[in-house]
């Protein structure tokens, strides 16, 4: 911590001695460390540097941000909060409850955030009527990424139902490739399960079980069936998956070792970074049975309160994040879609255009749901209880019946 302060100080001294118009630095805590993500972040860095605001990078690796949240807690407790922190869903609400976040209402009013951010997203970016975070993007998790060459070689078409999906997996297995590339970390298994639950039970069931946490729905036969389907997917994953990072799983699809990966649209960034083109080298389609739904997860930047006022740099950072040009430029690289609905889709590739259209459609038809695995369904304790059960099932500790029962108990205890 003292080292960080020291660095901050010396950076400030350097800035002063250089007599440029540098205001101050923003220290940004985030977990965007993979190739595609780092490239996307450079867009924001460049944008701020053009305004004369220095960027102090504070990356804490680990998808899902578990490690980053631990670092954050230590820093806040020691009274040395970073300027801005990448955050997901309920983490924002939890920190806002502690009164640790700065109020961004001025920046929001100036730039009219209320009118352009989807309502489902505002629930998380605002706390008790005030804006506490600036959403950068909207990711959705119910995507399947497939290797087009493998699909063509085996005469496969895009599956739209669970049965077709099973058939595709079987064909790929016969052809001697791993049908599903899956990373073996609890959050990845749970992210996959989000889509499976939505597909198995439909949006009403998803809402009831994973958002409202109704014990009856959690322990129902539908949930058991969802676990059965997850088991069917597990049977099509190679045995060496445990502990694998998501981008390594994506690489398996890129290299043609595996047919498909079920992962959020951040996976597209990896395809793009590897020089692949959608519809030519790879396919993107919704998880079978969830064509109309968008299960979202939005990266947001929360600004930490620095003595009661929103500093100039924080306001500048928040405004920069929400500007339509940045939202477009950033999301083109990152693979997600803009958090503003008024950003033109001209610069996006085929998958991006589909994502933007899907989001708009889902938002207006009430089919926009938060992803529980990504912290947009319930607070961290419940999310982790969900991880426990799903990962235990995925690694063979439970059968479907026990898993559904365990889910009821685990979520009840975590509440």
């Amino acid at each position: 911590m003292t080292l960080m302060k020291h660095l901050k100080l010396s950076a400030a001294v350097l800035a002063l001695s250089a007599t440029t118009a540098v205001a101050a630095d923003v220290e940004v805590l985030h977990w965007w460390t993979s190739g595609g993500e780092a490239a996307a972040l450079n867009v924001l860095k460049g944008d701020l540097e053009a305004q004369g605001i220095g960027w102090m990078d504070m990356p804490v690796a680990g998808g899902g941000g578990e490690a980053a949240m631990t670092v954050l807690r230590a820093r806040v407790t020691s009274g040395n909060a970073p300027t801005a922190v990448q955050m997901l869903g309920f983490d924002i609400t939890d920190w806002a409850k502690e009164g640790a976040l700065a109020n961004l209402n001025d920046a929001a009013a100036e730039n009219g955030w209320d009118a352009v951010v989807p309502e489902a997203l505002q629930k998380f970016a605002k706390y008790e009527g005030s804006w506490v975070a600036a959403p950068v993007n909207v990711h959705s998790v119910n995507w399947v990424w497939a290797n087009k060459k493998l699909f063509d070689d085996n005469n496969l078409t895009v599956p739209t139902t669970w049965e077709e999906f099973e058939a595709v997996m079987a064909t790929l297995k016969e052809a001697g490739v791993t049908p599903i590339a899956q990373g073996g970390q609890p959050w990845q298994e749970a992210t996959l399960f989000d889509s499976v639950v939505m597909s198995t039970g439909g949006p009403e069931f998803y809402q009831k079980a994973l958002i409202d946490l109704d014990p009856e729905a959690l322990g129902s036969d539908t949930m058991k069936q969802a676990f059965d389907r997850l088991g069917a997917i597990r049977a099509n994953v190679d045995d060496n998956f445990s502990g694998r990072d998501w981008n390594l799983a994506t690489a398996m699809v890129i290299n043609g070792e595996a047919g498909m990966q079920i992962m959020g649209d951040w996976a597209k960034g990896e395809f793009v970074a590897a020089g692949k083109v959608p519809d030519e080298d790879f396919l993107c389609f919704r998880f079978p049975g969830t064509q109309d739904q968008v299960m979202f997860n939005a990266d947001q930047f929360a600004m930490f309160d620095q003595g009661g006022v929103v500093s100039e740099e924080q306001a500048a950072l928040a405004t920069a994040i929400m500007s339509p040009t940045f939202q477009s430029a950033f999301n083109v690289v990152k693979g997600s879609v803009p958090a503003r609905t008024d950003v033109p889709d001209t610069d996006f590739d085929a998958c991006g255009k589909k994502g933007i259209a899907d989001l708009a459609a889902a938002s207006s038809s009430g089919n926009l749901f938060g992803s529980l695995a990504q912290g947009y369904g319930a607070p961290a304790s419940i999310k982790n209880a969900y991880y426990d059960v799903v990962t235990a099932f995925f690694n063979g500790s439970f059968d479907s019946q026990t898993a559904a029962e365990e889910l009821v108990t685990a979520i009840e205890i975590a509440q």
Binding site: D94, G184, N240, S381, N384, N395, S397
Partner: protein, 298 residues
């Protein structure tokens, strides 16, 4: 002349005082940061603390929740398997190595540090090295396949049912040498005269070990047991480096459980109660030991 005795008096008084003065800051610090925080943790375990500490008492709720969690049951079971095998195997291997080294062999000075060396590594290094070695995709299994033994299979680290045993393997590898050193010291402390007397009475080698040497090693056994058992209860880094608690949650131990509940899951109350259970487990082992030790000294 009149001032001399008071000076000497002052000097002796200073001499008795200085050790206390020098020790008192560290004593105060230990009281605050060790015992103070133990009390704080016990207190937190009875509160509804979530993301940050709260002071709202809820009685034994956290404990009852804790013991309903299958995740905690897994951790406890894993600790049982891990501690039992780790202590048992390390002691056996350590004792074996010490006995062999004690046969007045050549090159003991070279062999001893070789066996002892793994203890100098941090558990993180041990864990990472064994993770790669045991990984079927890049480690032992892969190498065996490359060498032509295609049917060779050793995928315990990826198997929920067997992963905990890989933790035992790595931990035993790390600690056996250390246990050996303790037993070796014990063996060297045995009076040669007794052994010679036994030999004259016609005792066989086996009888000598069984009746004379092993009983005399009792203090070494006790120290080995206490050191290994507290290492087992608090082991955290090895699991994190080796398996990350996985596959799934299959190799979680109480220490990793405590950390994740307190710091990443915003359930500080449950985390604190698991820490208290761990503390009591260690106390249950240490208190009788300390009691026995202190009583012997009197």
């Amino acid at each position: 002349m009149a001032s001399a005795p008071t000076q000497a008096d002052l000097k002796t008084r200073l001499q008795t005082l200085i050790p206390k003065l020098v020790l008192s800051p560290s004593l105060a610090v230990i009281f605050l940061f060790v015992y103070g925080f133990i009390i704080f943790t016990v207190y937190l375990s009875f509160t509804d603390s979530r993301i940050l500490p709260s002071f709202n008492l809820v009685g034994f709720e956290n404990y009852s929740k804790l013991f309903r969690l299958s995740h905690w049951t897994t951790s406890i079971t894993n600790l049982g398997i891990f501690a039992g095998l780790y202590i048992g195997i390390s002691t056996l291997i350590g004792l074996g190595l010490a006995t062999f080294l004690d046969q007045k062999i050549r090159g003991e000075g070279l062999l001893r540090p070789i066996y002892l060396y793994p203890m100098a590594l941090s558990f993180i290094v041990t864990g990472t090295a064994w993770k790669w070695f045991l990984d079927p995709g890049i480690g032992l299994e892969h190498t065996m396949h490359l060498w032509g033994w295609e049917s060779f299979s050793f995928d315990w680290i990826k198997n929920s049912d067997y992963a905990i045993y890989t933790v035992v393997i790595a931990a035993v590898w790390q600690s056996s040498g250390f246990v050996m050193a303790m037993f070796l010291a014990g063996l060297r402390g045995i009076d040669n005269e007794i052994l010679k007397a036994a030999q004259m009475d016609g005792a066989s080698n086996w009888q000598m070990y069984r009746r004379i040497i092993l009983p005399q090693l009792r203090p070494a056994f006790l120290s080995a047991f206490v050191i290994l058992s507290h290492l087992a209860v608090k082991s955290y880094d090895l699991v994190i480096a080796l398996t990350g608690g996985g596959p799934g949650r299959a190799t979680e131990l109480p220490a990793t459980f405590m950390y994740s509940y307190t710091f990443t899951r915003n359930q500080m109350g449950i985390g604190a109660s698991s820490a208290v259970i761990m503390l009591m487990t260690i106390a249950a082992i240490m208190v009788p030991y300390l009691y026995a030790e202190l009583r012997e000294k009197k």
